[in-house]
Structures are given as structure tokens and as C-alpha cells.
Symmetry: C2
Subunit: 209 residues, 2 copies
């Protein structure tokens, strides 16, 4: 097979062009198209053009949050490390993941819950505005819904893209009714890569001009 | 929607059961089924049952490499951090990624190539046996093919699952002809999560009995 001759600096631009051509991008809202395309870029899966759901005005709200130096709390170290460091530095944004913290393990064990659910409890203690980005654990979204309803946390944005087979579909339905600004991939698909890609698409809207 | 009542410790087992039921697991080789199922577990994408390709005897060769304390070289920090630490410790295996190394950036700039291709050159300097796990950059696979042919590296296993739209399909075709033991996801799909999942499926074969 013959390789295309594309310079390193042009690979991403050419990829986005191909995605745009195959997507017929006119069908998707201008504000959302960068996010949909970046998720497809990271997954090569055009299903996301159909499954990504956005609450009203969520993109503007997310950008406002990023501008005020939000903390992004992820449910996996993979998602956390996948968020663009240079972009976060420019914005004064930081990303954290509590999954390896001993106090989270202890809390999960005591409550008979998952580490990811216990991470959401720890997220309530973060100072300042937070974005919650869930790419793995539906139990995190379910616990987050409870914590929001109890008034313990009020996230600027919830990225709800856990992946899998047990309570994943249900957890996404739940969080879309919580009343928080959300970007959710309905169905079983998602992942840490998708969570990071959505964060990056939002960050690049502000930092790559 | 009603949540299923599944205990945290049972979520993964129940997920694998569902995947097995939907997959009709009898159709896939016994040795490979754990790998295929774990990739579907991490992606919720049954396409991989059809696209994952294994060179002859690759699973046995990969397990032998893991038993002798191989170094896994990844092309992303996401894949690197996604490989199970406890499993690696048990086996004396380590995972490294050179993507943030200043000498790699300098080499890529000088050669007009990608960082990922320069990482493969650095991988040639790793002492002892190596597994190369590529979840992002087709340019890494293309450079790796050249380095193997030049006798500069002889990996125990190449996990070739880059994702994307420019030279991704082609790079996978190339590496399957290089003459190295491989596990490759043909087509556009793949990712850092898929690369890590394949590493973990192999590690768990030896560490979870």
C-alpha cells in the first residue's frame, strides 16, 4: 500500500478535513462541530456524530468556566494525562484525578462503593469551579447525580462518556436529567480518550486561534 | 431507567459475560478471546472482533516476553499510564513513553519527522527485550518497520493499533509484513485505550489466576 505524503504538521489538519468531508458537517451546529470532529478524530468512530448530546448553551458555559481557571476532575489517570497541558497552562486550568488516592480507596471500601464514586465525593472538596469528566465509570455519574441533588457540588459542566456494559446507558440517562450543563455520549460507547478529546476540543477553542 | 444492582467487585465479570454472550465466543480462538473481549470492554465496540489480527503463535511469544521482564514502549503517555501497574510489578515488566523527552523533540525537528517516529529511534536504545505498543501514531509503525528491516531493533511483539485517517490503514498493512510478531487492529480504529487494553489482557493471563 502506498503511503500519502503528508508533513507531520499537516496530519491533524488533513485528518479533520477527511472527517469533515465524511461527516457532511453542515448538518451539525457550528458551535458543536469542533467537539464532534475531535471525538471522531480520537476514535475513528462516526457513531459519535449521532450519540453526542449537548445541553442548551453548554459550549458557551464550558468556555466561560475554562476562562475562569476551572479544575477538571477526571475518573481515570488516562483521561487526566490526555488533556493538553500547554492549553491548560495558557488558561490557568488544572486537571486532577483522585483514583490513586489512599483516602479514596478507604472511603470506597467503607461505603461498599466503587473508587470512582468515592472520587466524586472527594470532588466536592475541590475549591473553586469544577468540570467533571467521566470516561470510564458509570458509578461516578450515578453518585454525582446524588451529590448535585443534595447540593454538595455544582459543576460548571459534566462530560459523561463512560464506556461499557453495566449501567452505562442508564447512568447517562440519569445525568442528562440532573439539571447540570452536560456533554454526554449516549449508549455504551465512550472512554477516557473521548473524555480527554472533549476537554481538548473546548480548550483549543480558546487557545488555538 | 432502572439501574442494575451489581456489586463493584462484580462489574467487570458481568461486563465480560455480556460481551461473551453478544460475541458468541465459540467462534474465536481460545488463546485470543481474552484479548478480543478486553478490547471490546474498553471500547464497547464489537468491530474489534472482526478487525483484530494476530500473527502465528503471537500470544505465546508475548507471554514469554512478559515472563522475562520486557520493557513496553508506548507512543503516548495515555497508553503508558493505562497499563496495569500491579500486574507489571508482579512480572518485573516496565512501561515507558518517550514522547515528552527533549532529545526526542530535537531529533524529530532535525529529521523533519514526527515525535512518535523519533520515539521509535529511541526505543532502539532500550536494553533488553521490548514490546512496542502503538495506539496513536501511524508514523511510529512506519518508522519501526524501517528500523526492524535495518536490524536496529527486534521487538518481541508489536501492538499496532493507531487510530485515524492519514496513513493509519496503510501503516498497519506495512507492519503486518515486517516479519515481527504482531497484534494489529486493521482499519482506522484503535487508540491508546486499545493499546493499553491489549497489554493488560496479556498481563492478566499471567497474573490473574
Amino acid at each position: 500500500m502506498k503511503l500519502q505524503n503528508v508533513l507531520p504538521k499537516d496530519i491533524e489538519r488533513r485528518s479533520m478535513e477527511i472527517i469533515g468531508e465524511e461527516l457532511g458537517e453542515l448538518k451539525i451546529d457550528h458551535e458543536k462541530i469542533d467537539i464532534v470532529k475531535r471525538v471522531i478524530h480520537t476514535s475513528a468512530d462516526f457513531d459519535y456524530a449521532r450519540t453526542l448530546h449537548f445541553s442548551d448553551g453548554v459550549v458557551g458555559k464550558a468556555l466561560d468556566a475554562l476562562k475562569k481557571g476551572v479544575t477538571i476532575v477526571t475518573d481515570t489517570n488516562m483521561a487526566c494525562i490526555g488533556i493538553n497541558k500547554m492549553g491548560m497552562e495558557k488558561l490557568g486550568v488544572k486537571a486532577v484525578c483522585f483514583m490513586s488516592d489512599p483516602d479514596v480507596a478507604a472511603r470506597a471500601k467503607e461505603a461498599g462503593t466503587t473508587m470512582a464514586a468515592a472520587c466524586m465525593e472527594k470532588a466536592c472538596t475541590v475549591e473553586g469551579p469544577v468540570i467533571i469528566a467521566i470516561g470510564n465509570a458509570p458509578t461516578a455519574l450515578v453518585r454525582l447525580d446524588e451529590l448535585v441533588r443534595e447540593g454538595k457540588i455544582n459543576p460548571e459542566l459534566v462530560i459523561g462518556v463512560p464506556v461499557g456494559f453495566v449501567n452505562v446507558v442508564e447512568s447517562k440517562e440519569i445525568i442528562m436529567k440532573t439539571g447540570v450543563p452536560y456533554i454526554v455520549a449516549s449508549g455504551r460507547k465512550g472512554g477516557s480518550n473521548v473524555a480527554a478529546a472533549i476537554c481538548n476540543a473546548l480548550i483549543y477553542k480558546l487557545t488555538r486561534k
